[in-house]
Amino acid sequence: MAMLLAAPQALCGGQRVDPALVPSMFAPESAPAHSISHLAGFVLAITGGMFALVAGLLIYVIVRYRRRPNDDGMEPAQVYGSGPVEAAWTTVPLLIVVAFTLTTARVIQEVQDAREPASAVNVQIIGHQWWWEIRYPELGIVTANELHVPVSQGGERRPAFLDLRSADVVHSFWVPRLMGKIDLVPNKVNSMWIEPERPGLFLGQCGTYCGTEHAYMLIRVFADLPQDFDRWAEQQKAPPENDPSAAAGRRVFERTACVNCHVIGGARDRRFGPDLTHLMSRSTLASGALSNSPAALRAWINSPEQFKPGVLMPTMNLSDNDLDKLVAYLSTLK
C-alpha cells in the first residue's frame, strides 16, 4: 500500500520517496502494529462489504425508481413501514457490532495488557516543546529525538517498554509502523511497547498538537541488531570526548548560557534542552528540523529561529570566532 501510494509521488513530484521510509500503518514491522493492522484488515473487509451492499441498493433504487418521462402523474402506492423489515435491519447490524466489539476487545487486551518479559529494554520518553528526551534508566543513557531499540530475532524477545511522560503540554508518541500513538500527558505516566522484527529506520512524529512547532517534533526510531544495539549502548554510556584541541570551544559552552539548558557528561540530570553528550552520534538536529553536520550545527546555533520559528532555544549572538570554536568542540562529541 505504501509503495502504491508513494510511486505517483515519486513520478510527478520529482521528489524521491523511499517506500521503506513512508510511515504507513499498513506496513507494520512490530508486534503491536501487526495486531492493529490485522484488526484493521478484518474491519475494512466487513465495512467494505456493508458499503457495497448499501451503496448498491441505493444505486438500484435511484435507477429503478426514477420518474420516467412517460409518467402518468399518479402518486405511487403509499407504504408507511414494516415491522419485520425494521427488525431485520436492526438485528443484522447489531450482530455485526457484537462481532466487531469482541474482536476489538481482544486486541485491546492483547496489546495493552501484555506482560513485560525480563529481557525487555526499559525506556523513558519525556515530551518537551518541541523535542523528545529519551532515557534508559537501567543503562544510564540519556539522549534525544532518536530512539534506539534492539530487534527481536530468532526467538529471542527484546521488546522495548516505553514510559511516556510530559514536561509541559500534551504530546503523543507515534511511529505508525511500530505501534499506534499514545499520549504523553503531564502529571500522568503512560506506557506502550514496541517490538521490531527487522533492523531499520522508522519515522514518526508528535501526534497531538502541542504548540507552535508541533510540525517539527519528529521521531526517528532505529531498530538495531542486538549486537549493534549493545555497541551503541556502550558508546552512549562512555563519558564525553575530551579532545584538548577543542578546549577553547568547551570554554565558550561553559561560559555562555548554553549550560543553563544543555548537559554534556556529568550528572546528566534533567534540563530544558536536549543532552549533548554524544550529539554527533545523532543523525538530525532540532528534533528532525535539520540533518546533523558541523555546518548545519553552526547554522542552527547561529539562528535557531530561521529553521524552527518559535523554538524555545534563543539566538545567542555569539561572535563568529566563538561560534567556530563552539561548533569545533561540539563536533568532537561523537
Partner: protein, 565 residues
C-alpha cells in the same frame, strides 16, 4: 370614500399599504430587522449569520490547504497557521453549525407545527444577538488578542484547546480569553434558544397535532434541543473553570500546579461528541422532509425513525471518551467506550435503511434538493463506516489525530451536514422569499461541489494512513504525502466555485426568480399551506390536522393518511 383613499389616488392609484412600505428608508428596514422578534426574520438572520461565517471559515480552510499543497512550504508562518486551524474549527462548529441549525429551527418549527411564533419571541431575539456577540468577541481577538495597546493575535490552541496549552504559562496575552468568552457567550444564546424551541414544540402545536403526528423535523429538533441543554452546560462549566484558572489563580487545568489535563478532555468531549449529533440530527431532519416529497412517498417507519433518533441522542451522551483512546485509559475503560460507540452505528444504520425504504417504490424527482440529499446518503454511509473503524480503539491509536480522522469528520460535517444545509436552502428558499431558485445553477452548484468535496476529502484519508498527523504547518518531502495533499487542495477550488454559484443563484433569484406560489414542490407539511413568504403571524386561522401529512389529506380526500396511521 374617506380621506385616506383620496391620498391613494393622489399617489397614482397605488394602494395605501404598498405605498407606505415603499416609503420606508433603508434605515427603517434595518431598524425593523434589528428590533424584530418575528421567528422568521430571526431565523433568516441566523442563517445569514451562519452563511457569512461559512465564507470566513472556508477562506481560512483555503489558506490552510494552500500552505499544505506541497512539502516544506513557507507561505504562512507557523503561528499564523496554528491560528488559522483554530479559528477555522471554532468558527465552523460554533459560528456556522450552531446558527444554521437554529436558523432553520426558528424559521421552520412554528410553521410546521401550525404555530404563530416561538413560545418566547423576545428570548429568541436575545439568543440570536448573544450568539452574534460571541462570534464578534472571537474575531475581535485578531485585533485585541494581546490587549488593546498591543498587536492582535488570534487564539492558536486548536478548537478543543487542550489543557495545559491554554494555561497562562503557554498561552500569553488574551487570545485564549477571547476564545473562551466567545464560546461562553454564544453558548448562553444556544441554551436560551434550545429551551425556547422545546417549549414551542411541547406547548404550541396546532389542534390535532399529537406528538405522533408531528413532522419528523419537529421531533428531531425536539431531541436536538434537549441535547443542547445537556451538552452545552459542561462546556460552559469548563470555560468558566478555565477563566478562573487564567484570572483568579485556580488550578483546575493548570498541570504545573497539580491540575489535570485529562479533566479538560472529559469536560470538552462530553460536550464535543453530543455536539456532532446536535449538528447532524438537523441534517437528518431535512433529509426526512425532503426525501419523502421528492420520492412521492410517506416516510418509511416514522415511529422507528423517532425511536432511532432518541436512541442516538441517549447513546451519544455516553461515548465521549472515544476521543481519548490514546490518553492512556485502562483496557476496561477503552472497551466500554468501544461498545458504546459501536452501538450508535445501529440506530444510525436504521435511519439510512428507512430513507432507502422511503425511496423504494417511489417516483424519484431529481431536483436540486433531492440531488444534495442523495449525495448526503452516500456520504453519510461512508462517514458512518469510517466511524466504525475509528471506534476500534487499537486502530484508533493509529488513526486518531491523523488526517484520516480529519477526512472522517469532514465527511460528517461537510458531506452530511453542509450538503443537507444546501438541500434545505434549495428546498425552503421559495417558501421564505416567494421565488424559485434557478435549477440550472443549482445543478452546477451541486456537481461542482460534489466533485470538489470528493477530491478533497476522499483523498484526505490516505495521508492519514501514511502517518500524517493533523495540525502540522508543513511536512517532510520524504514521507510520500505530497501528491495526496496537492489533490486535496485542488478539490478546494471546485468547492469554492460551487459556493460562488450558489451565492449568485441566491442573489439573482431573490430579485428575478420565478414566483414560487405557496406549494412549489407539491409537498405535504403545514408550511406549504400558507403563502410564500408567509404573512407576519403565519396562519390567518390556526390549522387543524388529522395526520402527519395534512396537505396530502387535502389533496387526496378519497385516500387520506389518517386512515392508515
Amino acid at each position: 370614500m374617506n380621506d385616506t383613499s383620496h391620498l391613494g389616488e393622489i399617489a397614482g392609484g397605488m394602494p395605501l399599504a404598498a405605498r407606505a412600505a415603499d416609503d420606508r428608508t433603508v434605515l427603517d428596514t434595518l431598524h425593523s430587522w434589528l428590533v424584530t422578534v418575528d421567528h422568521k426574520k430571526l431565523g433568516l438572520m441566523y442563517i445569514l449569520y451562519g452563511l457569512g461565517f461559512l465564507f470566513i471559515g472556508g477562506l481560512e480552510a483555503t489558506l490552510i490547504r494552500i500552505q499544505l499543497i506541497a512539502p516544506g512550504l513557507h507561505v504562512i508562518a507557523p503561528v499564523a497557521f496554528n491560528q488559522l486551524f483554530t479559528m477555522h474549527g471554532t468558527t465552523m462548529v460554533f459560528l456556522v453549525g450552531m446558527p444554521l441549525i437554529f436558523g432553520f429551527a426558528n424559521y421552520l418549527v412554528p410553521l410546521m407545527i401550525g404555530a404563530r411564533d416561538l413560545a418566547f419571541p423576545r428570548l429568541n431575539a436575545f439568543g440570536l444577538w448573544l450568539s452574534v456577540f460571541g462570534g464578534l468577541l472571537l474575531y475581535f481577538s485578531y485585533i485585541g488578542g494581546q490587549g488593546l495597546s498591543g498587536a492582535g493575535s488570534a487564539p492558536d490552541v486548536g478548537w478543543f484547546a487542550y489543557a495545559p496549552l491554554t494555561a497562562k504559562a503557554f498561552s500569553k496575552g488574551h487570545s485564549t480569553d477571547y476564545w473562551t468568552l466567545g464560546i461562553l457567550v454564544s453558548g448562553f444564546g444556544s441554551i436560551a434558544t434550545a429551551a425556547n424551541i422545546i417549549t414551542t414544540i411541547v406547548c404550541m402545536r396546532c389542534r390535532g397535532m399529537s406528538l405522533t403526528r408531528m413532522p419528523l423535523l419537529a421531533w428531531l429538533y425536539l431531541v436536538v434541543c434537549g441535547m443542547v441543554l445537556i451538552a452545552v452546560s459542561p462546556l460552559t462549566a469548563a470555560q468558566v473553570m478555565l477563566l478562573l484558572d487564567r484570572f483568579a489563580g485556580s488550578h483546575f487545568f493548570d498541570t504545573q500546579a497539580g491540575g489535570s489535563a485529562v479533566l479538560w478532555m472529559h469536560f470538552f468531549w462530553i460536550f464535543g461528541h453530543p455536539e456532532v449529533y446536535i449538528l447532524v440530527i438537523p441534517a437528518f431532519a431535512f433529509a426526512s422532509e425532503i426525501i419523502p416529497v421528492f420520492s412521492r412517498k410517506a416516510i418509511f417507519g416514522y415511529p422507528v425513525m423517532v425511536g432511532a433518533t432518541c436512541a442516538i441522542a441517549f447513546v451519544s451522551l455516553g461515548v465521549w471518551a472515544h476521543h481519548m483512546f490514546t490518553v492512556g485509559m485502562t483496557s476496561t475503560g477503552n472497551t466500554f467506550f468501544v461498545v458504546s460507540t459501536m452501538m450508535i452505528g445501529v440506530p444510525t444504520g436504521i435511519k439510512i435503511f428507512n430513507w432507502l425504504g422511503t425511496m423504494w417504490g417511489g417516483k424519484l424527482r431529481f431536483a436540486t434538493p433531492m440531488l444534495f440529499s442523495i449525495a448526503f446518503l452516500f456520504q453519510f454511509l461512508i462517514a458512518g463506516l469510517t466511524g466504525i473503524m475509528l471506534a476500534c480503539a487499537p486502530w484508533d491509536w493509529q488513526l486518531n489525530d491523523s488526517y484520516f480522522l480529519i477526512a472522517h469528520f469532514h465527511y460528517v460535517l461537510v458531506g452530511a451536514i453542509v450538503f443537507m444545509i444546501f438541500a434545505a436552502i434549495y428546498y425552503w428558499f421559495p417558501k421564505a422569499t416567494g421565488r424559485l431558485l434557478s435549477e440550472r445553477l443549482g445543478k452546477w452548484h451541486f456537481w461542482l461541489f460534489l466533485i470538489g468535496f470528493h477530491m478533497t476529502f476522499d483523498t484526505m484519508h490516505f495521508p492519514g494512513i501514511l502517518g500524517m498527523p493533523r495540525r502540522i504547518y508543513t511536512y517532510e518531502a520524504d514521507r510520500g504525502w505530497g501528491t495526496l495533499n496537492l489533490i486535496c487542495t485542488i478539490g478546494v477550488a471546485f468547492q469554492i466555485a460551487g459556493v460562488l454559484i450558489m451565492s449568485v443563484n441566491l442573489l439573482r433569484s431573490l430579485r428575478k426568480g420565478k414566483p414560487a406560489g405557496s406549494d412549489p414542490w407539491d409537498a405535504w407539511t403545514l408550511e406549504w399551506s400558507t403563502s410564500s413568504p408567509p404573512p407576519e403571524y403565519n396562519f390567518s386561522e390556526i390549522p387543524t390536522v388529522k395526520s402527519r401529512r395534512p396537505l396530502w389529506d387535502l389533496k387526496h380526500p378519497a385516500d387520506p393518511d389518517w386512515k392508515y396511521e
